[in-house]
């Protein structure tokens, strides 16, 4: 890459756009996974732990196999097991899905740190990126438009999931189960089974999101790799009103907020770095306050979801 051209403060929005695309991918995968799980009427807060475990598992698998894509598969597979476990145990009477999510979040993090210790030093292969900025000769534009394949897959997945909910039998099943367990039973659907697989698929997607973290951006495995991104993605589903397409736009918005700190740093603003670093958390909180409602059920919310009851 050539020397950065002098484009002054324009660098901030440009770096934020590039950053938004780079940073948003894990948000996108986790929020799509959580969207599917919540549409079936369960909430899995454990996706933060699944994301971190996926990051570790993906990195380790890519390191040993030499293939980044094998790492992505392994991360998705590991995430699926976390989802299957949550989906299975939450069918028992008295087991609270939110509390179990917290427990699995802590367990996922613990296991990831436990098994991840030997992988902090070694270097695993990276996921490839596609350059969509070939038309520009400004290096910052080119850098901003280097897009990872997983981002594109995530975008397609958002469209596919929206179509699935609207037009397919599986989508209908998930929606019915999420809106009324009794109605689902009455027409012969098995709510526990639908929730089991919705949670498993959600876990798999979160695992893939984790692989993106460790295999592309930031592109290495360490214990501070997520710091709440999975959790923000879960909050983002509420803001996106359980709609996969909205999840995509919300993930981009969050990615932009997450890129604010590094973008300002890149143009030399370094004071208050930690406060800019907190921008995504603050944005999430503000959006939650703005879009929640104290006295009526949220529009678009699956009515079996415990947080909306």
């Amino acid at each position: 890459m050539s020397d950065p051209a002098d484009i002054g403060l324009w660098g901030v929005p440009l770096a934020m756009l590039g950053g938004a695309i780079r940073v948003s991918t894990p948000f996108l995968f986790v929020s799509l996974g959580e969207c599917l799980t919540e549409r079936s009427g369960r909430m899995n807060l454990g996706l933060e732990g699944t994301l971190i475990f996926g990051a570790m598992a993906g990195y380790a698998a890519a390191y040993h196999s030499g293939s980044a894509w094998f790492g992505v598969l392994a991360a998705g597979f590991a995430g699926m097991w976390f989802g299957l476990f949550h989906g299975w145990v939450c069918r028992f009477k008295g087991v609270n899905d939110i509390a179990m999510g917290i427990a699995l979040m802590l367990l996922g993090m613990g296991l990831a740190f436990f098994f991840g210790k030997p992988y902090i030093q070694p270097v695993a292969p990276d996921l490839p990126a596609i350059s969509l900025g070939w038309w520009s000769d400004i290096p910052q534009v080119e850098a901003a438009l280097r897009v990872n394949v997983l981002f594109i897959i995530g975008a397609v997945l958002a469209l596919a999931m929206a179509w699935m909910f609207r037009a397919t039998r599986i989508g209908l099943k998930v929606r019915v189960v999420g809106d009324s367990t009794a109605a689902a039973r009455a027409i012969g659907f098995n709510p526990d089974l639908v929730r089991l697989w919705s949670t498993a698929a959600g876990g798999a997607l979160a695992g893939v999101g984790g692989a993106y973290l460790s295999l592309y951006y930031p592109g290495s495995w360490n214990e501070g790799i997520s710091s709440g991104q999975g959790l923000m993605a879960i909050a983002l589903v509420i803001f996106a009103r359980w709609n996969p397409i909205n999840c995509f736009w919300a993930a981009l918005l969050f990615g932009g907020a997450g890129a604010l700190g590094p973008a300002l740093q890149s143009v030399g603003v370094s004071s208050g770095y930690y406060l800019f670093f907190a921008a995504p958390y603050i944005l999430t909180l503000i959006l939650l306050i703005a879009t929640s409602s104290p006295d009526r059920a949220l529009k678009g919310a699956p009515s079996e979801l415990s947080i909306t009851k």
């Binding site: 609270n96 917290i102 802590l106 929640s292």
Partner: protein, 366 residues
């Protein structure tokens, strides 16, 4: 059934109906804890490590001698306060898991207040440190309750988000405006003079006053929850919020009050960490006590009295972490895995309540 048999049976039945649920509430979590330790043993066996060695190291480092008890008890204080921050809102049916944020900011407030009042009379300065710390914690977690009441924001997600914001604020202040220029390796607020350091309790074992304060706080919380009308109102709200509203209980004020109280207590954990252990506010405050506190409160079934022994047990686990790492060549996350497994099995055991015939009074009728 004749009148005489009913009369002779009734007291026994009332006695069973009173005590069986209490025994159930002790036996099931205890069985879950033991099952969790057993499952963790399988995990160790699968890795080719000895569970016997593991648990004997925990006993040795955490509970075997005066030195190990000191090691354990000095870690109990923050865990007691952190667990109370979960237990108080839990009475109202709220799952607040962001106590870590209040701990960190409480410590920061204590550190800054102490640094600004160096030279003032020690008693007043110390009092101000406690008050500022508790105030910041109360506002922080009380804010979570306020968002819940006014806007219906999910308290679990909001509190955890705020924990991340709290940690960012701590980093900002200790590396920016309130950094002591003398703290080179580890950015900190100014070192507190000895007069502003909390000392050890005169009980023959080196444990700072935070332990005593934590135990007193647990007993006080138990008293308020179990013996006062406020606690009664809170319990009704937790069991059925609609019923509480129908009874015209001040549900909103209860939620804000209980979350604020929990936050103030968690902040005291930060105060004691700064004043008794570190001597200044810095990154050491981010030690994960808030997360261990969640597990403790759930294991204690959100009962403040039960929090005391559970916190001592888990403090012993954490105290032995270093020895386990060195002797068994296991990573420091081992204790996290153990806690995670115990937590998962504990929540699974919730499904047993009311299902086991042995805990029904009818089982004991002859």
């Amino acid at each position: 059934m004749t009148d005489t048999t009913t009369a002779s049976f009734a007291p026994r039945h009332a006695y069973l109906a009173l005590w069986l649920p209490r025994i159930e509430a002790v036996v099931i979590p205890l069985a879950a804890l033991i099952s969790g330790l057993l499952v963790f043993s399988l995990f160790l066996l699968a890795l080719g490590k000895s569970p016997v060695e593991f648990y004997s190291l925990i006993y040795k480092a955490g509970f075997s001698s005066g030195f190990s008890w000191k090691n354990t008890l000095s870690r109990v204080a923050p865990l007691l306060f952190a667990a109370l921050c979960v237990a108080l809102p839990a009475r109202l049916g709220l799952v607040v898991i962001g106590g870590e944020g209040a701990i960190v900011l409480g410590g920061l407030a204590a550190g800054i207040t102490g640094a600004m009042l160096i030279g003032a009379p020690a008693g007043i300065a110390m009092l101000m440190m406690v008050l500022m710390s508790a105030l910041v914690g109360a506002l922080w977690i009380g804010g979570v309750g306020w968002m819940r009441v006014k806007r219906g924001v999910n308290e679990t997600i909001a509190s955890l988000l705020m924990a991340y914001i709290g940690i960012a604020l701590l980093n900002h202040f200790v590396e920016g405006p309130f950094r002591d220029p003398a703290s080179l390796n580890k950015p900190s607020t100014a070192q507190l003079p000895d007069a502003l350091r909390v000392g050890d309790m005169p009980i023959g074992i080196e444990v700072h006053w935070g332990f005593g304060a934590g135990v007193v706080a647990c007993i006080l919380c138990w008293f308020i929850l179990d013996k006062t009308t406020i606690g009664f109102a809170a319990r009704i709200t937790g069991q059925n919020i609609r019923a509480a509203q129908v009874q015209a209980l001040p549900v909103g004020r209860l939620i804000i009050g209980f979350t604020a109280a929990g936050g103030a207590l968690a902040a005291l954990a930060g105060f004691f960490e700064v004043s008794a252990i570190h001597g200044a506010a810095n990154g050491s405050l981010i030690a994960g006590y808030g997360y261990t506190g969640i597990l403790i409160s759930f294991l204690a079934r959100h009962n403040p009295l039960a929090i005391i022994p559970v916190a001592i047990l888990l403090a012993g686990f954490e105290a032995s972490s270093g020895l386990i790492q060195r002797r068994m060549d296991l990573p420091d996350a081992t204790i996290l895995v153990l806690q995670g497994i115990v937590f998962v099995i504990l929540l699974l055991s919730e499904t047993l309540y009311g299902r086991l015939a042995i805990f029904r009074p009818s089982y004991w009728r002859v």
